[in-house]
Point group: none
DNA sequence: GATGAATGAGTTTTCATTCAT
DNA sequence: AATGAATGAAAACTCATTCAT
C-alpha cells in the first residue's frame, strides 16, 4: 500500500491522459468533425460527464493536442539552434532531421496538425498560429544566420525556405507508413539533405 | 423564337457549374464537414432538390472538384514532361514552377485538396489516390531521367523528392495570400529553384 | 408491316401495362411506400413524365392494381356461385379452391392486397372496401344457402366463416413459395377441404 | 427527501414505455412507414434525442413491439400446450381461442404484426421469423399429436392447418372492431370451433 | 468526481409532383 | 406522347452540451 500514486482504477493512465490519447488516435484516424464526443469517451472507458469535467469542450481537447505538439517541437528546436559552437549548416540539418523524426514519431499529431487547424475556434486558432509563427521564426533565423555567414545562398527567401520545408514535414502524415520500407531516420536524412542542398552555396 | 440559349434566370452560369463553384468556395473557406448542403444551395440560388438532381451526394460534389484539379494538373504535366528536346533539368524546373502557379491560381482547390481527401468516401478516395499516384509517378520519372543522365545526384530517392516537393506545393493553401507581398511567379521561381538545387549535381 | 398492333418500341407491352406490371412487382417486393416512382419508371424503361401522363398519381397505380384483382376474383366467383345445378357444398369447395389457385397464381397481387390497403387514399380505400364487401357477401351467400338447405351447421356465423377463410387466403402471400414443396392445387384442395369440414354437418 | 420514485414530470409512465406505447398506437393507426419519428416523440411528449437515447432506430422500436408480442404469445401457448392431463383436442381449442382473445386484446400489435414485418431490417426480420416459426411449430405439434392419437384426420397437412388458422388470426386486425357486435370471446369460440371441425375425425 | 438522461438545432438525403418544352 | 429539370416539404438520424443527482 506504499505505492500511493497508482491509479485506483485498473486502467493504466489517469482519465485526462486517456481521453487525450484516445482523442488523438481518433482525430488522426477519422478527422476531428467525424469523431464524436461519444466515441472518445467510449474509447477512453469513461462517460461524457467525465470528459466535460476535465475539458471545457471538444475544441479544448484539440487545443490541448496542439499545445502538446507545439511545446515539444519548440523545446527541441531551441535546444538544437542554441548550440552556438556548432556550425549553422550542421544545426540546420540537425533541426530539420529532428523535426522529421519527431513528426514521424508522433504521426497522429502530425496528421491532426495540418488537417484540423481550421476546426479550432477562431481564438484558439489564433493562439496556435502565433505559437507556430514563433517556431517558424526560430527556424528561419537559422537560415538567415547561414546567409549572413555566407554559407547559404543569398538568393533564397528565408521565409519561403521555411514554408517549403515545413510543407514537406506536415505532409509526412499523408504518405508515411510505419510499416513501409523507409525508417524515420532515412526520411529525416534525405529531407535534411535536400533542404541543405537547396540553400547552401554550391 | 429568337431567344438565345442564355438561361432564363438572372444568374449567368448553368446550375451544376454554379453549384460546383459555390461548393469549391465554401469547402475552401470552412472545410467540407463544416459546409452544409443548405449553404451550398443557398449560395448557388437553387434548392436542395436541384443539387441532388445533378449530384448524387455531397461527396460527389467533392469528388467532382478533385477530378477537375487532377485532370488539369495531369494534362499540364504531360505537356511539359513531353518536351523531349528540352533538357530534363529545365523540364523539371518548368513543371515545378507550373504546378506552383496553377496551385496558387486555384488556391481554393489546393486548400480543399490537402484538407478534405479523407472526407471522401473510401471508394472515391481510392480513385483519387490512384490518379494522384499516376501524377506523382510522371513527376518522379523526370527525377529518374535526370539521375540516369547524370545531371541529378544519385543519392536522393526519387520518390522522396516528389513527396518533399509536393508537400510544399500542397501547403501553399495554408500560407499563401493573394494580397500578400509575393506573386505566384516569385513563389514558383523560388520553389522550383530550391527543388533544382536539392537534386542536381553540385 | 401488316401487323399494325405491334408497339412501335422494341419493348413488348404498351407503356401503361409495363408500368403496371413493374409497379406490381416492386410493390410486392418492397412495399408501396418503399417503392419510389423513380424505381418504377426505371424498371419500365420510361420517364416520370410518361407515368404521370397515364396515371394521375402513384396512388392511382395502386388503385389500378386493386381493381384488376377485384374484377378478376368477382368474375370467377360469380361464375362458380351461379352454377345452380351444382350442390352448394360443391360450389363452396370449388369457389374456395379457385380463389386459392388464383391468389397463388397472382401472388404479387395477393401480397400487395393485404399489405397496402391502408396506403391508398381514403376515398380509394373506401371504394376498394366496398368492392371487397360485395365479394365477401357473395361468398357468404353460399354459406347461408348451405345452412338453409341444412347441409351446413347452423351454429357457425356465416360472416365469421368468410373472415376466417379469407384470412387464410390473404396470408398465402406471407408463406407460400413458388419453388416450395406444395403446388397451388394441393394447397387449394386442403384449404377447401378444411373450410368444408369446418362448416358442414358432421 | 420523502419524494417517492414518481417521475418529476406530470406524465405517468417512464419515457421508453411511453414511446413504445405511442409508437404502437401510431404504427397500428397509420402504418410504420407513414408514422414519422417526429409524430412519435410528439405523442410521447419528449424530443427526438430522448427517443434515440433509448432506441437505436425507428426500426428498433418496431422490433421491440414484435418482441413483446412474440414473448407473450409463446408463453401462453406453452402454458396451454403443456397441460398433459388434458385431451389434445381440448388443448388445441383452448390454444386457438386464447390466441384469438389475446390478439383482439392487443389489436394494435396484431395489426402491426401482419402489416409491418417486411419493414423491419433484414436481420431483425430474420430474428422475428425464427421466433414465429418456433411458435408455429409448437402449435403444429398439437395437430400432429392429435393425428397420432387418431382424434384428428390423417389427410390434413399439419403445417397447412397452422397456416390456415393463423391467416385467420392475423387478419383479425383487418376487420374486428372493439365497438362491433361481436365480443372477443364469441369470435374466439367460433374460430376455435371451426378449427376443431376442420381437423377432427367426423 | 462522475453519471447519463435529455435537449434542440442541426445534418444529409428522398420523393411525389409539376411544368415548360 | 413524352421529357427531365426543378421544387419544397419532410424524412431519419446525430451530436455537443447541460444539469440534477
Amino acid at each position: 500500500m506504499a505505492r500511493s500514486t497508482t491509479p485506483p482504477k485498473a486502467t493504466a493512465a489517469a482519465v485526462p491522459q486517456r481521453l487525450l490519447a484516445e482523442a488523438t488516435r481518433l482525430f488522426a484516424e477519422r478527422g476531428y468533425d467525424r469523431t464524436s464526443v461519444q466515441e472518445i469517451v467510449e474509447a477512453a472507458g469513461v462517460t461524457k460527464g467525465a470528459l466535460y469535467h476535465y475539458f471545457g469542450s471538444k475544441d479544448d481537447l484539440l487545443h490541448e493536442i496542439y499545445g502538446r505538439v507545439l511545446r515539444l517541437q519548440m523545446q527541441r528546436l531551441e535546444a538544437i539552434a542554441g548550440k552556438e559552437a556548432t556550425p549553422v549548416a550542421e544545426r540546420l540539418v540537425e533541426a530539420a532531421a529532428d523535426v522529421v523524426v519527431t513528426s514521424i514519431g508522433n504521426l497522429d499529431d502530425t496528421k491532426i496538425f495540418f488537417r484540423s487547424m481550421h476546426q479550432l475556434s477562431p481564438e484558439k486558432q489564433k493562439a496556435v498560429r502565433a505559437d507556430r509563427r514563433r517556431y517558424h521564426e526560430k527556424f528561419r533565423a537559422l537560415v538567415e544566420e547561414g546567409q549572413r555567414e555566407g554559407v547559404f545562398r543569398q538568393e533564397v527567401r528565408p521565409d519561403l525556405v521555411v514554408d517549403f520545408f515545413f510543407g514537406a514535414v506536415h505532409h509526412l502524415g499523408t504518405w508515411y507508413r510505419e510499416d513501409g520500407p523507409l525508417s524515420a531516420g532515412q526520411v529525416a536524412a534525405d529531407f535534411a539533405d535536400m533542404l541543405l542542398h537547396s540553400v547552401r552555396q554550391p
